[in-house]
């Protein structure tokens, strides 16, 4: 297998696998936040920004995967 092709495949696998966890995690965060808003609609203003921040933090792992795949591709 050529090195280039291996790099491409590796980068794809890296970002693909790395995105699974945050994807599930963000889904859970959003569903819980929506549940909470459904229970207590007055708290929506407080919950929404916190949800975005926690989702952004959960996204970190996907970001690391992105960095790794970028390093594989271009580094």
């Amino acid at each position: 297998m050529e090195l280039e092709a291996a790099k491409m495949i590796g980068a794809g696998i890296a970002i693909g696998l790395g995105a699974i966890g945050p994807g599930i995690g963000e889904g859970i965060a959003a569903s819980k936040a929506l549940e909470a808003i459904g229970r207590n609609p007055e708290a929506a203003g407080k919950i929404t920004p916190l949800m975005f921040v926690s989702m952004a933090i959960a996204e970190s792992t996907a970001i690391y995967a992105l960095v790794i795949s970028l390093i594989i591709l271009f580094g």
Binding site: L70, F74, G75
Partner: protein, 164 residues
Amino acid sequence: MELFDALGLNGKILLAQLINFAVLVWVIWKFAYGPIVKTLNDRQKKIEKGIRNAAEAKDKLAEMEKREKQVLDKARQEAQEIIKKAESVAEESKQEIVQVAHEEASKILAEAKKKIEQEGQQMMSEIKKDLAELVLAATEKVVGEKMDLAEDKKMVEKIVSEIK
């Protein structure tokens, strides 16, 4: 670091971007954030002051209304008193006048009565005198002789006075 090259990191551009960003922060701080926060604070103070002023004015108005009512009440009371007083004075003077009138009327009446009585008496005495003479003359004619006697005259007078 090949990745840095791949990402296009360049010292000069980074410096320029840093300066650019710093200028942006400074501009927004100085010309947007500062003045707007100041404006908002000023407006908040102004609104608070306005609300306080409005409350004060309301209080003052209520107080003034109260005072006005008091003054009005007092004036009404005074007027009532004056009217009462005037009424009583009028009543008094009316009574006085009526009394005076009564007195005068009774006085006039009494005088009139007295006068009438006097006149009546006078008339009566005159009539009596006339009557006595008339009786005397009639008797003279009936008797046919002159009754010159003092005794007779006296008697006739007595009879006449008894008739009344």
